[in-house]
Symmetry: C2
Subunit: 98 residues, 2 copies
């Protein structure tokens, strides 16, 4: 039998990063605070996970304004979509023996 966990992406071992990605798959853009509230995280914790995802180029940041107020939003990249899908496929293959 083949190693069932070899194809899982290390970046998605984290429930938080998994959550961010799952939100971004269905929302093409979401704000920092919305994410923070949705996932019930502290600023620093969310920011650092977002940073990890950005480093991997799985998400993109958009800094802009709502009126004259700054607003930061995040969206998934094509690479991110690919990697997330690959991870989910690996997960599914792993448990599809059910």
């Amino acid at each position: 039998m083949k190693n069932p966990i070899a194809d899982l992406n290390k970046i998605f071992d984290s429930r938080i990063r998994l959550g961010v990605m799952s939100v971004l798959v269905v929302n093409n853009e979401i704000g920092f605070n919305d994410l923070k509230q949705m996932l019930e995280l502290t600023d620093g914790n969310l920011a650092s996970h977002l940073n990890t995802l950005e480093q991997a180029e799985f998400i993109k940041v958009h800094k802009g304004f709502i009126g004259r107020k700054t607003s930061t939003t995040y969206s998934i990249t094509d690479l991110g979509k690919q990697a997330f899908k690959a991870h989910l496929d690996a997960l599914e293959k792993m448990i599809k023996k059910l």
Copy 2:
């Protein structure tokens, strides 16, 4: 929108423990060394993850013999089946928006 990660089980954040469970779901009994080779782990690493799963009562240990050679095998408990299923359901709900 509700927190999508709240229902994930912390114990299954680990790819290794996830792998162990996925193997145990389809094999009603598996040996230490088989798991070790399948998941490509060192003894200590596997043993400690197995210990975590045992503490949670998600798996059971069986110490016996194959011929005259000692053999330790592991199997999933009912609680383990339940918890694993619940985790997979939570995962699925999280991503079923796809």
